[in-house]
Symmetry: C2
Subunit: 350 residues, 2 copies
């Protein structure tokens, strides 16, 4: 038997989705913190803010006027990082300076007309409408011959670079497949070729046997802290059925997807009794016209908070130069999340 105890001893864990390693230092979680304190989001926002460029009926920075939408609202990003009409071309020098044109589309998705809500404060049917918009955006963008990958994501909270608290996400869709989904394609393909099965389906089976990293589940979805999680309370949202993208989810599955998103984000808010910041997003098959039987749709949540509403994990020196590092174990994080109620703290303390 190995003397290695993952709950106590420093070790590395392998991320089979990216093929990369992570350093885990469980013994270090007692380290005192004298560094930067984050400002927790305690703002009381109005249901409608006349100065918000995402509220219904308001005029945006470029003069466009938002419709009087009542559910979700998707539109082209006024300051998109990608544009469809970018000139083609490449630059090459000595094999060491290499650039190539990139084209694409940036979209903004308002989750609700209510300026004062966030996903955990929305109803399951309202979140289900967001899932439907994700499917619509993926279908229409993915069908374009000039789009080979569609990245749907949300930055929540000022600490995650979100510049407007109105509940919204983004879509960046582009000609090439970016680094992370490209790595996940390689890894899932290798596993599929070797085993004839989905990497994440087999992984899910292991986790359902182990139970220690499961946070919550329903009929069609499971939320867990992956064995290789880098961020303190990182989670992975997995459909039980292997589907390549969100358009393939049935009506019942979409409802259950909304259900786990709601329950997970409520637990997140309850953890430190604050609007829990994160970046989250879907990883799906490339829309490159190839079959991708190896691909298993999933959603990553990358939240930075570590010990409280004000103390975050920094991915800095060692992490930027060597590899990601974490202190609390994924098992401990899952246990903390599991112990929390699924009623939002604002509703119990109101």
């Amino acid at each position: 038997m190995s003397a290695l105890d993952l709950a106590q001893h420093p070790h590395r864990r392998f991320n089979p989705l990216t093929g990369e390693w992570l350093l885990v230092s469980p013994h270090r979680s007692q380290r005192p913190w004298q560094g930067q304190q984050e400002a927790p989001d305690r703002s009381q926002r109005p249901a409608y803010d006349p100065t918000c460029y995402l509220c219904a009926g308001n005029t945006r920075a470029n003069g466009a006027v938002n419709p009087a939408y009542t559910g979700t609202f998707a539109f082209d990003n006024d300051f998109a990082a990608l544009t469809p009409d970018a000139p083609a071309g490449t630059v090459e020098m000595g094999g060491l300076l290499r650039a190539e044109a990139e084209s694409g589309v940036g979209r903004v998705i308002c989750f609700s007309p209510r300026h004062d809500l966030t996903l955990p404060e929305m109803s399951t049917p309202d979140i289900r409408r967001v899932v439907d918009v994700w499917a619509e955006e993926f279908a229409s963008l993915g069908a374009r011959p000039d789009i080979n990958y569609v990245q749907i994501f949300e930055n929540k909270g000022a600490v995650m670079g979100c510049s407007n608290p109105h509940p919204h996400g983004q879509v960046w869709a582009q000609r090439t497949v970016p680094g992370d989904p490209a790595k996940e394609t390689v890894q899932q393909q290798a596993y599929f070729q070797q085993h004839g099965r989905s990497l994440l389906a087999d992984y899910l089976e292991l986790e359902l046997n182990e139970q220690v990293r499961i946070v919550l589940e329903n009929e069609h979805f499971v939320v867990l802290v992956p064995f290789w999680a880098a961020w303190p309370f990182e989670t992975l949202v997995l459909p039980r059925r292997v589907v390549q993208d969100v358009t393939q989810l049935t009506d019942a599955e979409r409802d259950r997807f909304a259900d786990v998103i709601r329950r997970l984000t409520i637990r997140y808010d309850n953890l430190f009794q604050t609007s829990f910041p994160y970046s989250a997003g879907l990883h799906q098959r490339p829309t490159d016209g190839q079959q991708h039987p190896e691909w298993h749709l999933h959603m990553h949540f990358f939240p930075p908070l570590l010990r409280s509403a004000t103390v975050r994990k920094f991915m800095v020196g060692y992490e930027l130069l060597a590899n990601p590092q974490r202190d609390i174990t994924p098992e401990y994080a899952a246990q903390r999340l599991r112990e929390l109620p699924e009623v939002h703290y604002k509703q119990t303390t109101a």
Copy 2:
């Protein structure tokens, strides 16, 4: 001729050191910013702080007492992420849960007894002493059979997770080669095998011809904004002579290394007239007992500030899920840095 203009059109650039791509969106740099404002470091610190656990003569959290050091001071980190005595062992389940023990050493390097200084405010001879400590640490840690990689770095500023403003850096040395230096080894090896030359030496030659990304130089070192820089004002510090690690630098080279570090960090502070935060670190050959003729010592600076002392770049949703992205071009960043004086603003405005 290509219609692609790298100063204007969205494109991807290739990082030959890691083999990964970066998205560049130059047209987006005019985007208004309504998000989080950073708190610039305007603190007036005393030369000695009785509560600082790094000042000379003070008692640390674990009861150890710092010597009355007058130059640099290196010691074992009291809260090291890596420990030498960690039990060995591996965990494996279905090829999908994989962990292995990791051991190593964490060190802290105080750059100066002066609590109120930072590298750009230190003299070149005093920075040279820091270079010497880097060489001593690399030599002694790298000689150990249980250490195959030595990561030397500095987190500067609260925004980069630094919890004590006393000028200091760290060393994390470990049994395995972490992800980023492992990638750089693969890339440099492939280039060396193909061309019989150092990737970074050839790259440096290209950049010296081009000039547009050069920030400053002296007899033995060049500082440039790499063609593939991800952070807004990221730089690469390169010795002209190919050496694998800092111990191989001659006396004159070490002086000139200190000179470029001083001049670069002064320019950084002058850019937004603030103590410029960054994570920086050396990348050197693995200490795995192999020959590494392909390795070319270099130092990366990863600074987050984008537009002012209070507006930073966030590596969040798209960046965490897809790949790194930048708005201002590396060429523009280099030009900005080039235009700045090499006298520290505190000395001219005092």
